[in-house]
Amino acid sequence: MTQLVLEQALNGLQFGLMLFLLAAGLTLVFGIMDMINLAHGSLYMVGAYIAASVAEQSGSFVLAVIVAVGATAIIGALLELAVLRRLYRRDHLSQVLATFALILVSNEAVRMIWGDQPVMLAMPEALSGPVEIGGFMYPAYRLLIVVVGVVAAASLYLLVAKTRLGMWVRAGASNREMAQAMGVDVRRLFTIVFAIGAALCALAGALLGPLLAVQVGMGESILILAFVVIVIGGIGSVRGALVGSLIVGVSDTLGRALLPTLLREIVPLEIAASLGPALASILIYLLMATILFWRPEGLFPARA
Amino acid sequence: MAEHAQAPLLQLAGLVRHFGGVYALNGVDLSVERGEIHALIGPNGAGKTTLIHHISGAMHPDAGSVRFDGADITRMAMHTRVAHGLARSYQITNVFARLTVFDNIALAVEARHGGGDETQAVIERIGLAGATGVAAGALSHGEQRQLEVGLALATAPRLLLLDEPLAGMGPEESERMIELLDHLGRDMTLLLVEHDMDAVFRLADRVSVLVAGKVIASGLPDDVRADAEVRRAYLGDT
């Protein structure tokens, strides 16, 4: 039993880190540009599709990830220059409308290029099986995601805390006018940050592609989860995104694993059988509502 | 109720508020008597605006009490305090920029009742009768500050909290505002946070000095000016 709980906790950690890859870019863009970008999920989708194409042509997964990340960063930067840049000064609602339109456009563009049916993105042969750790078997590929998630979190931390770019980012997130006064080229900073966000999306898309369906609409379902994460963590805070990801990942996984069993102990079997899964489905939303009720600005508000 | 009539209009006892580990208010005791103009001075970062937030109800203290007209209002919501006669203005102009001067004042009057003539009367009192139909955002800085005071005034307060009403004003605008405040002081009690020492000593009946979240002196203007501790902590370095 303890072993099972441990394994589930690891699963939760892994799911959380998976969400973090997506949430980190979202929270950066959100915190610094004060921009609601619904099309974030579309960049994730585009990243996954590009990775799938490259992997099929070249047979190399590593190359696929690299090309997807690079190409999506360029697409992101172009998108920022052509469209999103004009939206920073607009209200959140205009941003919602415009980026919603971008979702429609990118979904259809992907359908026209890659077709209606889901495409394949296979994991590298070497990682396709399980390995033994701590007395139980764990998928090697999921361990890779844990490692990449940790590396991404650490490098983001270093980037934000230790580099000049990071200093600009922090300045921009807490006070845009001040940053401008300090001589930061805010326009270029925004383009760079957006490209980084897009690259993180593509990394998430390419890495999750072998575990999840690569299909039109994949961006929207995970986008909602990413929003839940950054809202729990506090918008604009990378640390908040990490903590939020882990909270969502662990509670969702443990909830699904344990709630039905626990309920069987408390209420009659009949009710538990229908209540358990229903509760597990809404657990993260319940969690978010509860956290926001007590902490209306999330756990780590970026602008205290 | 007789004892209430003698009690100070506003009485703060041991107000404490900390943010994280920093104490913004560290046991503030203060009383404002009926009918007086009471000035609150202190160096930057002393906690003056935070204190105004706590008196007006925008924030709630970790410890201590706020009594208004004899009643404990420590936990009372801001809008209820307004209904009891306790209104405030803001240090940074905080008006309805997209509404006209008339609509601004009418909103504040309507919080109590129908409005009508009273709106016009308030507008005249704050000296904006010539700009009734102008959007607040289009007024000059000085006029916006007058409107700022007007919004608080329109709630018909017994105690008016004024957070740096002269902030950013030129000499001419300042003079007009000081005159306005002087007039208001005849009808209601004022608690005035202000940096302009000339204005403070011209207007105030009593002065309190807030330093590092504590009132270190309170009394007649000349006494406070002469107070050694005040001179050392505050006036000395100006």
Partner: protein
């Protein structure tokens, strides 16, 4: 000279006018209402393409009458579907409707179609309601009843002697119905019934649970993307070595195989059709579908194709008198067409009585990963709801 030209012009105009005034039943109008946008679009597009291929093989005619197909997108949204169906019924006045993929859409659209006395030939959606008490003279299903494929796997799993089986489906009535269908034929021990969130992405928690409870077989009902997610993760977790995975045909057809690839190999699934079923019409269908669309047909495509053939038979056998509803109904019931799946006939509830096959995914002669038929599970199998249908 001028007069001649004028006369010719007048004659042409007259002919054009006559063509327009031609009676309705000299052509057949079909309303193709399907899911053509969003995540479920792959299925709808397959049905549409299969139907169009059928029509092409019939030279663009149904029962000898020129056919016109009006395509509409239901967006997988009951609201939109209802709206689009009203348009097909009232504006375009179609003679037949087909194309709906999902049961909830079918149930939303059904009542107004039936009230309008328009025949619906379902090329996929087969809800139990319409098979049982709410069966309808105007509803024909040329695919299967939802439970059939679950039953087929249940029977096979029981025959293979698996003793400890786990079931997994999303938490909605379709999921619990799948369990019921499976258990109708499998009477052995069910180790675990796991209900997951609809649209779930990550299945690590469920996989750990399965690893702990050690069933010897697992039956999954996870439509669309959920199935892709699960199968990928199931294999990566190494569970495929100890647990035999089973699925209904629609979780293991060409669309899913194309998205998952090698991890699909060794998965057993049930279907009423397979691209390697050996009969002339199927060989032609599969070859021409690949030629026209550049991909192997899925079972959805085969169902769309059969829907076209069934309509052709109905128009032919009712002698093109499409307003004679009774004649059309009789012709549909007779179902005199060569189905690509081989033998086909309707039960009294207008759902098929047909064979169900077991398929396994592996590499074919050309090295493609695809389904291979390994045996027949049911012969002339009907659905469990027919007895509740009062129709004769």
């Amino acid at each position: 000279m001028h007069k001649l030209k004028l006369a010719a012009l007048l004659a042409m105009m007259g002919m054009a006018a006559m063509a327009q005034a031609a009676p309705q039943n000299e052509r057949v109008k079909v309303g193709m209402l399907s899911t053509l946008s969003g995540p479920g679009a792959g299925l709808g597009v397959d049905i549409r393409d299969g139907f169009n291929l059928g029509l092409k093989h019939l030279n663009g005619k149904l029962g000898g009458l020129p056919a016109e197909v009006i395509v509409a997108d239901d967006q997988q949204n009951p609201d939109v579907a209802k709206q689009a169906s009203e348009k097909l019924l009232k504006k375009d006045k179609v003679d037949f409707m087909t194309g709906i993929v999902f049961s909830n859409i079918m149930l939303a659209v059904g009542p107004s179609v039936f009230e309008n006395k328009t025949f619906f030939v379902s090329a996929n959606a087969g809800p139990s309601q319409l098979a049982g008490e709410q069966c309808n003279p105007y509803f024909f299903n040329v695919a299967w009843q939802n439970d059939n494929l679950h039953e087929a796997v249940g029977k096979y799993v029981a025959e293979r002697g698996f003793r400890k089986v786990a079931l997994l489906a999303p938490n909605y009535p379709g999921g619990t119905d799948a369990f019921a269908g499976f258990k109708r034929q499998y009477k052995g021990k069910v180790a675990e019934e796991i209900l997951t969130k609809l649209g779930q992405l990550d299945y690590a928690a469920e996989l750990a649970q399965l690893r702990a409870s050690k069933p010897d077989a697992l039956y999954i009902f996870l439509p669309g993307g959920m199935g892709i997610n699960f199968i990928k993760q199931f294999v990566a977790a190494g569970l495929s070595r100890d647990i035999q995975l089973f699925a209904p045909g629609f979780s293991a057809d060409e669309d899913i195989i194309k998205a998952v690839g090698a991890p699909m190999m060794g998965l057993f699934n049930s279907s009423q059709w397979a691209h390697d079923i050996d009969n002339p019409q199927n060989r032609k269908f599969v070859a021409d579908f690949q030629k026209d669309y550049g991909r192997l047909p899925s079972l959805y495509a085969s169902q769309g194709y059969d829907a076209a053939l069934l309509m052709d038979a109905a128009v032919r056998d009712s002698k093109g008198k499409l307003d004679d509803k009774d004649a059309v109904k009789k012709a549909l019931e007779a179902a005199k067409f060569q189905s690509v799946r081989g033998a086909f006939k309707f039960n009294h509830n207008h759902y098929p009585i047909q064979n169900y096959y077991l398929r396994v995914i592996g590499k074919d002669a050309q090295g493609r990963i695809t389904n291979k038929t390994v045996g027949t599970v049911f012969t002339n199998h009907a659905d469990a709801y027919a007895s509740a249908c009062k129709m004769k």
